[in-house]
Symmetry: C2
Subunit: 344 residues, 2 copies
DNA sequence: GGAGCTATCTGAAACGTTTCAATTTACAAC
DNA sequence: GTTGTAAATTGAAACGTTTCAGATAGCTCC
């Protein structure tokens, strides 16, 4: 592997000049520049980024911790982050936490050792105390997506979960369905670990929608899931075994909604004729299911691009404020809610 | 950020000794070891991996180029690779090529600049000429998954695509369907860029199955897709607009199969009553669709673990042979093929 | 009390860059 | 020619580690 020294020797200049050439410094004479470039090409020289990083104290690398890479919600976000990062000369070190908070913490530390210049947390699987105690000591470019740590000196990109769930539930209520149930995300976990997961917001939105219609909240229309396919299936099965079954259900994410639909079909019931369903996330699969899934679309691409853009700005050292962005959701009406054809 | 020098000064030893302590060299006295560790903890010292990498000429980083991270086939493989890599002290730089061969090449070069110690190509989106001319010059730890570059000095992990496609097609033929079409992967691209994608093997398997039954091959039962949802939809639409429509179709990957089913349903036809479908990959979604998708299951987890294990062995410098592993596939019978309940 | 060990520790070079003060060169102006 | 100035180049230090030849100290043995 050729080094700058080789280039310098072979083209008869000093190492400093050779460095100036590859960095396109303006003060190198055209003659020298040309000669050095010839040698660079001849030796097929590529600068050693590690040495460069050591010197300039930047790794030009970003850490990305995804809470669950196999959840179809994330890959599209990862893609948009990776593309923009690459176009700005940054590469991505990926860690998948597999929804395990221990791995989240381990990855968090590991990424620092690897000298990443900044970090993006997709889904915020890093434990709150570790993250906050770290942030209180150091100032580090960091963006959190889809998790609210409730700390002001932190860039956060959220989606208006309360309003999204409100819209979904109201949509079902407006269609005249009654009763309308909810399959939520993990609720109890949230309290124990102080993990303000999106599930709480979505649950609140559901309750608010009932309230707005003057309908009393009733615990028996609530089942708790785990954001995974199986959890949705199980929760719906519980509903189906009740004496009175809900006429419609808002399911807190699409993966669970698909599981819930599976349960309904297995019981020989029809969607939406017997039970109407609205999901949340709008993962690609929502268009494939049968019936297709009415759901709350999150601006996935936007979530990713915004995250990396805010991070890049922060990386560029501009003295910028911490941002907390809340993006709107959008109701996507498909078949599972039983609405007449109408643009949502 | 504390450095080794700080540690050395504060604990009254030389930098060399301090280094020996964090690297757990045996010849440091217990007394010194203890004192240095105290300072390390007190200053919250963490070794600078960049400096370390520069010196030891290893980055402890692996490059991973995925041909399409949003294809549900890949995330599970990525997860198994990442987990094992992390447990062995390696982290992963992820590049997503978005099925774009240009990006594949760009990423390939970028990863070298980043001094990755080894590389895994998931789906082999790197152009053949670039890869092979590189390999002929240098010797570099590399594992390719699900693409056969047809070069012997290269670790390759494949699945028996020909046999898989043969099994799928034969399954349809045995059910008495006729004619049986195929939606293939990109075939023409393969010839132009000499890209021996899995699509060719699957196509061959289809042809072999016909031949085995003494059925002549007919071009009009072949449509070319792009391995994406939309491509499957479009290809099926072409079939549906033909004078005679195939009675069953083997679709070369599940994403396209789901697209194809969508097209069929949109035309008001039934699966499998009007058209039977068998896919390939067994992505998680294959169990969610309606009807559920009969498909060829690949050992995804195994593909990932094997890839990283071979790479790690190669990285450890053992003078090992190049390996070419071909894993078997498995027919998973669900509803879309219209077979009676039977274990596959 | 010196030789010979061993166990422990030191100091400096090296890894491949970037950076910058200092130097050299080129050239114009007189 | 000398001087002044700008342009081009050099050389060495630095980044934070690892490594290794050599130094030192403490023993044992005769």
């Amino acid at each position: 592997m050729a080094t700058l020294k080789d280039i310098a020797k072979k083209s008869g200049v000093s190492v400093g000049t050779a460095s100036a050439v590859i960095n396109n410094k303006s003060w190198v004479s055209d003659k020298t520049r040309k000669r050095v470039w010839e040698v660079i090409e001849q030796l097929n020289y590529r600068p050693n980024q590690t040495a460069r990083s050591l010197k300039i104290k930047k790794s030009e690398t970003i850490g990305l911790i995804v809470s669950d890479i196999t959840n179809p919600f994330f890959p599209e976000i990862v893609r948009s982050i990776e593309g923009i990062a690459r176009n700005h000369g940054y590469s991505l070190i990926l860690c998948d936490a597999n929804e395990d908070i221990e791995i989240g913490l381990e990855s968090f530390n590991l990424l620092f050792d690897k000298q990443v210049d900044g970090m993006i947390l997709l889904g915020g699987i890093v434990p709150q105390d570790a993250l906050l105690s770290f942030l209180k000591k150091k100032n580090f470019p960091l963006v959190v997506v889809e998790r609210d740590y409730g700390y002001s000196r932190l860039n956060t990109i959220l989606v208006d979960a309360v309003k999204g769930a409100f819209t979904a539930t109201t949509h079902l209520l407006n269609l005249g369905y009654w009763p309308v149930g909810i399959i939520s995300g993990p609720l109890s976990l949230d309290q124990e670990s102080n993990y303000l997961h999106g599930s709480v917001g979505r649950f609140e939105g559901y309750q608010a929608a009932l309230k707005a219609k003057g309908i009393p909240f009733d615990k028996s229309w609530v089942k708790e899931g785990d954001f995974r396919f199986e959890g949705g299936y199980r929760a719906m099965m519980q509903f189906l075994e009740q004496v009175t079954v809900p006429r419609a259900v808002f399911v807190s994410n699409d993966l669970m909604a698909i599981g819930a639909m599976e349960a309904i079909k297995n019981k020989g019931l029809r969607i939406p004729e017997d039970i109407a369903i609205v999901g949340y996330d709008d993962i690609p699969e929502a268009s494939y299911t049968s019936p297709t899934l009415t759901t709350i679309a999150l601006p996935k691409r936007k979530l990713g691009t915004l995250a990396i853009e805010i991070l890049l700005k922060s990386l560029s050292g501009q003295e910028n404020e911490y941002q907390k962005v809340v993006l709107p959701t959008k109701l996507v009406v498909r078949e599972s809610c039983g609405a007449q054809i109408q643009e949502g």
